[in-house]
């Protein structure tokens, strides 16, 4: 390891708590000038909180951030930018309708009322050349560029801030291999120019191929900072998982082969997202799609629910074909979908709990299209009991509930339909506390026991191991492996982060 004297950036004993949750506990590491430094860790390890503190979006409770020896007080993203810290966020923040030059000047702290496009032309040109976009014209509309090139424009913009530290938060998660190569080349060029780079990634292959050192976090603490030459995929996974919970998945439902498939998905493709996905679900079992952002797991669920117009493939419920891209057709066939975005694509927040629970059941609580009070309250009482909600509060708006209870209402709505055959859930316990999580797991298991087929996506190893009968891992839009029997968490993590590459290939 490099001695501290050479380090340009030094993070010292950073600590941050949110309420009673200690998100980051005394994290320390350093990055030398010209070094590409990876930050790894499983979801919830505290990586994104560290990134937020470094980029001025969160203030640490204690600890120090030093660049070039001086301690920085990063109160806002603007201050961080002025201190030479540039962040390329997970989500693209470029504007397709503007030109390349306009995008490069966007959010630049030095921009005054008058942006002198002509004067800054040569400077912008050299920024583009630095990231390998020599072929791109400054006055070209951004909408003509591909996703990978847009990501490079983001990096170029971050560089334009005269960054001393460039933070890249999962820059390749949604990119193809070819596009990712452009990003790697740009990152190497930037590092060669003397910039320190913090590279956050879930893709362990690229971490080992690109970075100089790797800092691994687990449960909010730094496990180790290691030279990449001393690491393999497996030793990285051991660092990320720790020694303790290496328990294998226990199988629950032993009903395989008892009855036919209720949902069969064949050759499902979503352009740029999912390639040739096939899976059959049997009733009474819980299936999981394990995959990180950009793996396509979420897209498979959305496409099956009819929410992706561009999707193509053969989707059947009980042998009957369901037209892709039509949510009403999917719902009618008995597919209930729980989105990962319950606020904008799930619940009706200002409406009462009762309305939300029965939103998809209106035909069964009406007689001659008129609401039938008796049926309404009978169905409602059933559902409230099933979900473990407070029967006395069904008139309150969903907005007044905690996140966990909101999610229960959302899942409960899918369960409530007596005609529902398949329940799809996209990351069902995201942002849900431990208690709510256990309750939702119980709901899913109950649903399976009552004969539904349940398919959920998740990146949480414990959830995958505890809840699912079958785990299908996905990486970069394709299925890596289907696990019907026992499987260790480290195997799942390896497949989620590295795909199906044979062990021999990974050693450098």
């Amino acid at each position: 390891m490099s001695p501290a004297a050479e380090e340009l950036v030094r993070v010292d004993q950073l600590t941050k708590s949110f309420g009673s949750t200690r998100a980051v506990r005394g994290a320390s590491f350093g990055i030398a000038a010209g070094e590409i430094h990876a930050l790894c860790g499983h979801n919830g390890a505290g990586k994104s909180t560290v990134v937020k503190m470094l980029s001025g979006q969160e203030t640490p409770d204690s600890g120090a951030i030093r660049i070039g020896g001086g301690v920085l007080d990063l109160r806002s993203r603007q201050v961080a930018q002025r201190s030479g810290i540039a962040l390329v966020d997970q989500e693209l923040s470029v504007v397709p309708s503007l030109t390349v030059a306009e995008n490069l000047m966007l959010g630049d702290q030095r921009a005054r009322w008058l942006n002198r496009r002509r004067a800054s032309g040569p400077r912008l040109r050299s920024l583009l050349d630095n990231v390998g976009l020599g072929h791109v014209d400054l006055d070209q509309p951004l909408s003509e560029l591909g996703i990978g090139e847009r990501q490079l424009i983001e990096i170029a913009r971050a560089l334009g801030q005269d960054a001393r530290l460039l933070i890249l938060d999962e820059p390749t998660a949604t990119l193809s291999d070819v596009e990712s190569e452009y990003v790697y080349a740009a990152v190497r060029a930037v590092a060669a120019a003397g910039c320190a780079i913090l590279f956050v990634s879930h893709r362990l292959g690229e971490v080992l191929g690109l970075c100089d050192r790797v800092t691994v976090m687990r449960d909010g603490a730094v496990v180790a900072t290691t030279e990449v030459a001393d690491l393999t995929i497996d030793s990285l996974i051991v660092q990320m998982l720790g020694e303790a919970p290496h328990r294998s998945r226990k199988r629950t439902g032993g009903e395989a082969g008892k009855s036919g498939e209720v949902l069969s998905v064949g050759g499902l493709s979503v352009p740029g997202r999912v390639e040739d996905f096939s899976l059959g679900l049997r009733p009474g079992r819980v299936y999981a799609l394990a995959g990180q952002l950009g793996s396509g797991a979420s897209d498979v669920l959305r496409a099956t629910a009819g929410l992706v117009p561009a999707a193509a493939g053969d989707i059947r419920v009980d042998g009957v074909v369901v037209r892709p891209g039509h949510p009403i057709a999917a719902a009618r066939a008995g597919i209930a979908f729980v989105s990962n975005d319950r606020k904008s694509e799930g619940l009706f927040l200002d409406k009462p709990i009762s309305w939300n629970l029965l939103a998809t059941r209106l035909p069964s609580v009406t007689r001659w299209a008129v609401l039938d009070r008796q049926r309404w309250s009978a169905v409602l009482t059933d559902l409230v009991g099933l979900c473990g909600l407070d029967g006395g509060r069904t008139g309150d708006s969903v907005r007044s509930l905690s996140g966990g209870n909101q999610q229960k209402v959302f899942v409960g709505r899918g369960l409530g339909r007596s005609d529902a055959r398949v329940l799809l859930l996209d990351d069902p316990t995201r942002g849900v506390d431990v208690g709510g999580r256990a309750a939702i797991h119980r709901l899913l298991r109950d649903a399976a026991d009552r004969g539904m087929a349940v398919l959920f996506s998740s990146t949480d190893l414990e959830e995958l191991l505890d809840l699912a009968d079958v785990v299908v891992t996905m990486h970069k839009g394709v299925v890596v492996q289907r696990h019907d029997g026992d499987v260790a968490g480290s195997v799942l993590l390896r497949e989620m982060t590295h795909g199906a590459a044979a062990p021999a290939e990974e050693r450098r």
Partner: protein, 322 residues
């Protein structure tokens, strides 16, 4: 285990902006009452009839617009042209008899507005843009077919719509009856309930598999029928109809819906609120008229009422959400 019993503890401080708004509202209502009581001839049966009559035509159209607004399609800007076109059809069909002419008018009105609703519902067109285009199209076709002339009725059956049973205009009875029907439909039918859900969160409704397109189209069909009823009464009252029959009805109806406190964003509101909004605007205009203010002032006050109600509704909902 009762996990949901913990009510938001911060309820008390949150209510405060709501209380301020309530206080201001109460003062405004008091001022209006004092103003009304001190206005000569305001509190007479004859004046009450006048207010209701002037509210009735706008009110019926506003009930239709309420369906559109609650369903999340904001507004239709093609109310006046639709009413003018349907009014012309109604009067020129008088030779068929009143009932047949009414049925024909309602069918045409339903078709004209329902078509726009189908495009909004199934093709997710922007209702404002679409209805601006539709209003030009409707006016254009009406002008072309009528040759720009005024339609005069061929028989006198329409005059029965101008009847005043019990001394009150027939349109007032129709307004109250229709308001009750629309209110019941919104509250007690599956259609009404899904309309509120779709209006609040269209994306969620779509993801849940609700028939978003169909329900939107049905809401606009209902609105078209109500616009047609307005058209028949307006045409009968004017005894002739041309492409300008609708007058300022589009904005008057929008004003009534907003003054009733139905938010333009959809998902909330009611028919009875719209009824109250229409009466409120009519009463305010009436007070100003009795006190001798000019038409200009009356129109300005209409705008102020809409503004005050919209701001109040916004502040109150924000207060209850915070």
């Amino acid at each position: 285990m009762n996990v949901m019993s913990a009510r938001p503890r911060s309820a008390a401080p949150i209510r405060r902006p709501g209380l301020v708004v309530d206080g201001v509202l109460l003062l405004a209502v008091l001022a209006a009452i004092v103003l009304a009581l001190t206005t000569d001839r305001f509190l007479t049966v004859a004046n009450a009839k006048a207010i209701l009559t002037s509210a009735s035509l706008v009110g019926i159209a506003a009930l239709g617009l309420t369906l559109i607004t609650i369903g999340g399609s904001a507004v239709s800007l093609a109310i006046s042209p639709s009413v003018a076109a349907v009014g012309m059809i109604f009067l020129s069909a008088q030779s068929l008899g009143l009932i047949a002419a009414l049925v024909l008018a309602v069918l045409c009105g339903t078709l004209i507005t329902g078509l726009q609703g189908a495009v909004v519902g199934y093709a997710a067109a922007n209702p404002v843009v679409l209805t601006i285009a539709a209003s030009f199209a409707i006016t254009g076709i009406a002008t072309g077919v009528s040759g720009g002339s005024t339609v005069s009725p061929t028989a006198g059956g329409y005059d029965r719509l101008n009847a005043t049973p019990g001394g009150v205009a027939l349109s007032v009875y129709v307004l109250i009856g229709l308001a009750l029907i629309v209110e019941w439909t919104l509250r007690r039918t599956g259609f009404g309930r899904s309309l509120y859900l779709i209006g609040e969160n269209r994306r969620a409704a779509r993801a849940a598999g609700l028939p978003v397109g169909r329900m939107t189209a049905v809401a606009w069909l209902g609105a078209g029928a109500l616009f047609a009823v307005t058209a028949a009464f307006t045409a009968a009252f004017n005894t002739s109809a041309n492409v300008n029959l609708g007058g300022t009805l589009t904005f008057d109806a929008i004003a009534a819906v907003l003054a009733g406190g139905t938010p333009i964003s959809g998902g909330r509101g009611s028919a009875l609120r719209t009824l109250a909004g229409a009466v409120l605007i009519a009463a305010a205009s009436d007070i100003l008229l009795l006190r001798g203010y000019s038409t200009g002032v009356q129109i300005m006050v209409k705008g102020v009422i809409v503004l005050v109600v919209v701001v109040t509704v916004h502040l109150r909902t924000r207060g209850s959400r915070a």
